[in-house]
Symmetry: C2
């Protein structure tokens, strides 16, 4: 039976991908993943077999990877960012462990630079203190649960990283989140928005809690909301850790 490598490719450029991830892709027999992400690493794939599926076909993609492994192929199942953070690791491992023990392929997760890591580096140093990571996609999670988490993160004065802040169809959630946060946080709290981090057309915007929803935010954006100590200076967003100097 083949092995499934669950590979976080990072933001999408080769210079942010770990050597371990690159090796897993280069040595695999089959590459599986969402077409958009496969295109980002086309230069590493050469003439390997590719199982590219479109968005929302996560289950199909994983099943095809499992079938290839059962047929003796080594598969690199790729995720953008970190496969372990809102990536493919959860579903594929869930599906593998659901098989009878004798039919389970071996697997390994290879960590990558996630959007929260990449966006923070671009903004300066917003994550120097405790932070909460929340996805605003309510496709698989009840919206009430997500709102409660936003409320808890605000109560705890966490820096807050929002994944999937907005898509073409999902434009209301970010406005509701803003409304909740304004109950707990100063309206001038710095907010950083990084879109296409580490990719072509990378964009960095620094705004405030009161105003950030009028900026361009899309499904390739990561939104970082400061805690009560976060400040902006010279175009950078910093959450001081509290050293004396």
């Amino acid at each position: 039976m083949g092995k499934i490598m669950i590979v976080g490719i990072g933001p999408g450029n080769i210079s942010d991908m770990t050597p371990k991830a690159r090796l897993a892709i280069e040595t695999a027999d089959v590459i599986a993943g969402y077409n958009v992400y496969i295109n980002l690493i086309a230069e590493l794939i050469g003439d390997k077999k590719v199982i590219g599926t479109s968005m929302m076909q996560e289950v199909k993609r994983c099943q095809m990877a499992i079938d290839e492994a059962a047929a003796g192929k080594n598969v690199a199942l790729i995720s953008s960012g970190d496969a372990g953070i809102y990536g493919m690791a959860g579903l594929i491992i869930d599906m593998i462990l659901n098989l009878p023990e004798s039919e389970r392929p071996q697997f390994e997760v290879i960590a990558g630079i996630s959007a929260v890591n990449a966006a923070a580096a671009i903004l300066g140093a917003p994550l120097m203190h405790d932070f909460a990571v929340i996805s605003l996609s309510d496709l698989l999670t009840d919206w009430e649960v997500i709102k409660k988490r936003v409320e808890c993160a605000a109560t705890g004065d966490f820096v807050i990283a929002l994944y999937n802040p907005k898509s073409k169809k999902r434009v209301q959630n970010i406005l509701e989140v803003q409304e909740i946060l304004l109950k707990y946080k100063d309206k001038n709290t710095p907010v950083g928005i990084v879109t296409n981090a580490g990719r072509l057309n990378e964009q960095k915007i620094i705004s405030t809690l009161e105003n950030f929803t009028s900026e361009e935010i899309n499904m390739f954006s990561l939104v970082l909301i400061g805690n009560s100590q976060t400040y902006v200076k010279a175009g950078f967003m910093i959450t001081p850790r509290g050293y004396d100097f």
Copy 2:
């Protein structure tokens, strides 16, 4: 004036370090950092000038890096993990922006694989859902603030990642955290402990909220506490995202 590259080297082995981080180290004139981390990348440093300082000397280390840049040298200031997550990025940028504008060296943060990314990959897929990252070091943060954050993260049913869970001198905090969490979470909630992730003597333990504090935890450990959906199977820790398959 030289430039300061603030480099996250990842867990500590070359195969988890991004090419961008490696290039920054290889092309720098001077390498600055905590001695232990400098030793992890000794093979990349060759005969460059090294400013190694011992633990707790963060301010001194940053000042030396700034002085070198003022003298025209390009400096790689290294952090283990991600320089942007409890790493050196905050302090050095804080110090640079505090200088008169004409004396500020250019700088750039290079993201790396942080302990939370590395530990999650080793444990399986514990971070497939919203998570909170909290440091239990109360050196620079009031212990009451930290406890409140733990409480908020538990109320929101976040997966919780604990950095700096314990040191030789700080053994009580993790016990208090356990006590708080037991008020909100089931005592059988899975807890993963990864020590020396990606380094020699890497250790992975899977335990429960009720029992995990009796396991070996030290300053090189990352502790991951599941949410209400997290399960353990075949030695892996999974927080399902909620796909039907």
